[in-house]
């Protein structure tokens, strides 16, 4: 079974620039999560989907971040105007249902200068 695929692996931006992260979950996994992991910290949820529906985006900075999963498969996370505080690794994970183990992608490491 193929794992969770994320791209790009790395991104370097200046403040104010936009960036999109892409995630291809494991086939058949209905639930997809985006986590932000600052350096030397634990992952913190940004948003998660069940199929194409947003279940919880309460921790997504909605003025600059957006996330979609239009067909219930791949997902895109976008930062409209990056800030230095957005520097982190962005992890995508998927699972079959809510209470099951997550499979994580390798993450996208973002540096905003």
């Amino acid at each position: 079974e193929a794992g969770v695929t994320q791209s790009p692996r790395y991104a370097v931006l200046q403040e104010g620039q936009a960036v999109s992260f892409w995630c291809d979950p494991i086939s058949g996994h209905d639930t997809l999560y985006w986590y932000q992991q600052p350096r030397d910290q634990g992952p913190q949820l940004l948003v998660y989907f069940r199929d194409e529906a947003v279940i919880d985006n309460s921790q997504l900075p909605s003025d600059r971040f957006s996330a979609v999963r239009p067909k219930g498969t791949n997902s895109t996370l976008k930062i409209q105007s990056a800030k230095q505080g957005d520097t982190a690794t962005y992890l995508c994970a998927s699972s079959r249902g809510a209470n099951s183990d997550y499979t994580f992608g390798s993450g996208t490491r973002l540096l905003v200068i």
């Binding site: 949820l45 209470n99 997550y102 994580f104 390798s106």
Partner: protein
């Protein structure tokens, strides 16, 4: 709301020693607990989980964890560590009714040859 804490930021042991990584949680209802491992530059990998039944659960690579309701704990143990076990270990918690997993701040395990 569920919370999880990992009190040890760093643990150093010699190869062949046993190790226990501590995790405490706060939640009043039925709970789903997991441990994940993260090698440098990679995403998280699932190790083991507990949601009901036998409080001692076995995971991959000789890891096990024990759930204690009285202590609100889910500590991870390994009887004899190998240098390849050096990584960051994350404890995660979610409500058994099905929400997203909240991660602790992680414990960095260093195994000295």
């Amino acid at each position: 709301t569920q919370t999880v804490s990992q009190s040890d930021a760093h643990v150093t042991v010699f190869e062949g020693d046993s190790v226990e990584l501590r995790c405490n949680y706060s939640y009043g209802g039925s709970i789903y607990l997991s441990w994940y491992i993260q090698h440098h530059g990679h995403g998280l990998q699932f190790l083991l989980k507990y949601y009901s039944g036998n409080p001692v659960v076995q995971g991959v690579n000789g890891f096990e964890a024990e759930f204690s309701k009285s202590d609100s704990s889910f500590h991870l143990r390994k009887a004899s560590v190998h240098w390849s076990d050096s990584a960051v270990y994350f404890c995660a918690v979610s409500a058994n009714s099905g929400t997203y997993q909240r991660f602790g701040t992680g414990t960095k395990l260093q195994v000295v040859p």
